[in-house]
């Protein structure tokens, strides 16, 4: 994964300026920074959802993602959501490990915010990918659950590259690489 002299602006406001970053094919990279620093923009560029105004973004493996919002399908069950891009058996296994065994055939509307977050995580982990982009995946989870879910994420992404965006330094513990981004001066 390589971002080479990347710049990105939205409606005249520069979010990233001449930003470069190179990451290995495997490992855990944490992107830290306050709100508005461009963390989500970085992930969107890596996911191919945005094109840079200048510079290049090269991603060498298929991408999977946990978005800042859960982005679940309201008409599908929890299991159907998690298995959307993956083998249903694998998705089911992950949902069980994330404590959602009793909720497999319910719809997202019946779940709490933290549960929906875990479904989004299961969907991302179940999908066949080499790069896992996670935008504040532990948002809305309690402290104990956070630890367990982070351990599961680390375990399931050990053969690929995990890029985790957060503003909580606690979640960056054990990262192979920490990238800190700061808001640009106008």
């Amino acid at each position: 994964m390589k971002l080479d002299h990347v710049s990105k602006s939205y409606q005249g406001r520069t979010v990233l300026r001449d930003f470069s970053l190179e990451l290995p094919d495997r490992g855990f990279c944490c992107i830290l920074g306050p709100s508005g620093a461009g963390k989500t923009t970085l992930l969107r560029l890596m996911a191919g959802l945005e094109q840079p105004d200048s510079g290049t973004v090269t991603v060498s493996a298929p991408v999977s993602m946990v978005f800042q919002e859960d982005r679940l399908l309201a008409h599908d069950t929890v299991l159907e959501n998690a298995a959307l891009a993956a083998d249903p058996q694998r998705a089911k296994k992950l949902l069980v490990r994330l404590g959602l065994a009793e909720w497999l055939f319910r719809r997202p509307a019946a779940l709490s915010g933290g549960m929906r977050r875990r479904v989004a995580i299961a969907r991302a982990l179940a999908a066949p990918a080499g790069v896992y982009l996670m935008d504040e995946p532990l948002k809305g989870l309690d402290r104990d659950t956070k630890q367990a879910v982070l351990s599961l994420i680390r375990e399931e992404t050990r053969n690929g590259l995990l890029v985790l965006v957060t503003h909580d330094p606690e979640e960056a513990r054990g990262a192979d690489q920490i990238v800190t981004v700061e808001p640009l001066n106008p």
């Binding site: 191919g48 959802l49 991408v63 978005f67 982005r71 399908l73 599908d76 959307l84 969907r123």
Partner: protein, 246 residues
């Protein structure tokens, strides 16, 4: 439920009483026939083969126009919502069709085609803009975030259609179908009255008017109302089943 049913019966009885009073006051069957005469005529009509042929042919004509409008309206809605070129080309035309009164269409079609096809084309033209407009709105309101999610997870077109587009657009489409059904039926019968094809409910209404058979006129009107109710209830049942299975 029992209370509601009793209320409906009571309301019906009140209107029947008003009809009776009007009949007694006017005193001329050619202007207002008695409820009994209409009921008798309705019973006689139902027992004849031409009645069912007329009803069947009207239903066939109007439902054909309705079905065509559902299909083409959905295609046009998807096109105008997703393509700027299609929007520029089709939207003004469809808005114009929506603004034209049904009578203008019928008269125009009278010049252009055989009177046998006029009810079908009229129903089609009445329903088309309704379905187009609703589907266009449904497609435009589809959640961009879900489409991005589908892009990231490299979902197939079939999956995107099944899991994102259809659930999003279905309520808009079904609402249009429900509105369109009543519209198609009324416009189709009106077209039959004006075009007077060989057979059909409209033709029967036209003849009842010409020969001053007011009881026939009332009986056929009752038939139109009953079919309209059955069609709407049937469609609601069908929609319910579709939604349940989905």
């Amino acid at each position: 439920m029992g209370k509601d049913f009793a209320k409906k019966i009571a309301a019906g009885a009140v209107w029947l009483l008003i009809w009776l009073l009007c009949w007694l006051t006017v005193g001329k069957d050619v202007l207002i026939p008695s409820p009994a005469a209409v009921l008798l005529r309705l019973g006689q009509l139902i027992c004849t083969l031409p009645f069912w042929q007329q009803v069947g042919l009207s239903l066939l004509r109007i439902l054909t126009g309705f079905a065509l409008a559902l299909v083409l309206g959905a295609v046009f809605g998807a096109l105008t919502a997703r393509s700027a070129l299609a929007d520029t080309l089709l939207s003004p035309a469809l808005r114009t069709v929506r603004a034209i009164p049904v009578a203008s269409f019928i008269i125009l079609l009278f010049v252009l085609m055989s009177k046998e096809y006029i009810p079908t084309v009229t129903s089609f033209l009445m329903v088309l803009p309704v379905v187009w407009s609703n589907v266009d709105q449904g497609v435009r309101s589809t959640d961009i975030q879900l489409l991005e999610m589908a892009q990231v997870f490299r979902l197939s077109r079939r999956k995107v259609l099944r899991h994102i587009w259809l659930p999003q657009v279905a309520p808009f489409f079904l609402a249009a179908a429900r509105t369109g059904m009543g519209l198609a039926w009324k416009a189709g019968v009106a077209a039959e009255v004006l075009a007077a094809p060989r057979l059909g409910i409209g033709r029967a209404l036209y003849e009842a008017k010409v020969y001053l058979e007011t009881a026939d006129l009332f009986a056929w009107t009752a038939v139109i109302v009953c079919i309209s109710v059955v069609l709407e209830k049937g469609l609601v049942w069908l929609i319910g089943r579709c939604c349940h299975e989905a």
